[in-house]
Subunit: 158 residues, 2 copies
């Protein structure tokens, strides 16, 4: 529990820090989300390397994606992805009905506009994890009703 709190507090402070840098004119505002995403990407690369140390080889892309939704998500966010859908043409939608980094925000519409800040790092975590498993992707997220959210993964073919 301590480590979970440690991560969550640090994650919150990093968000504040990145956005504050933007306010102070040290960085353009639009770059904040991509900075956070990049931090997540690097962390995801590290994590997946550790988590897959003893797993057997993945069969295919869908197999990788299932690993992300189950093992990876559970390790990082304490629960599985609730729903995984795909169009079988390289687009996957991962739905989390109670996303851990949003549960600390009040639900309702009041803070809906701030949700993207709290999802950017997680998008990076997914992209970084996939990347180290050999799957290049673009990951975006959207929230309609807090604390549920959807991550959309678009596979980038080589």
């Amino acid at each position: 529990m301590a480590d979970e709190a440690l991560f969550q507090f640090l994650h919150n402070e990093v968000i504040q820090y990145v956005y504050k840098s933007a306010e102070n004119g040290e960085m353009e505002n639009g770059r904040c989300v991509s900075k956070l995403e990049h931090l997540g990407f690097r962390v995801g690369q590290g994590l997946i390397e550790r988590f897959t140390k003893d797993t057997s080889r993945f069969k295919d892309e869908l197999d990788v994606m299932k690993f992300i939704c189950k093992d990876y998500w559970t390790s990082v966010f304490k629960k599985q992805i609730d729903n995984l859908r795909t169009n079988h043409q390289g687009i996957y939608v991962l739905q989390d009905n109670k996303f851990r980094l949003l549960t600390q925000l009040s639900s309702g519409k009041q803070y809906l506009e701030h949700a993207p800040k709290y999802l950017a790092f997680a998008c990076g975590l997914v992209r970084g994890g996939l990347s180290n498993l050999g799957v290049r992707s673009i990951v975006t997220a959207e929230v309609s009703v807090m604390p549920a959210c959807k991550f959309q993964v678009m596979i980038q073919k080589a």
Copy 2:
């Protein structure tokens, strides 16, 4: 274990990020350590609030300091402080013979010059924790032989 890795990887990336901002001229180099320390301060404030939720009142300053060395340190860094010394005039020295955030660096002298980066956040954690327990302080750290380090806490009387 996953959360511990998550924190450590994020902590590393935050260090890289802050120092990279300095390189790009978005910030003066000297401010990096104090930025990291400030992040730690804020996280420490949050953590101590959570950790002391159910503890009884502290008797005095030394009692607070023992709590930091035992319970707080164990929660965050997985082990107690190995040695606590004080001059009974407001200076405390906390020695950790195997500091968790340094064990990932190679021991020996090769990376000694990089050690301060990896201690700034921890200094802030201590200062923030103490601050929320009503003890104002200045916290510095030094490394002589990796991965051992000493944190010096100077109490600031009101």
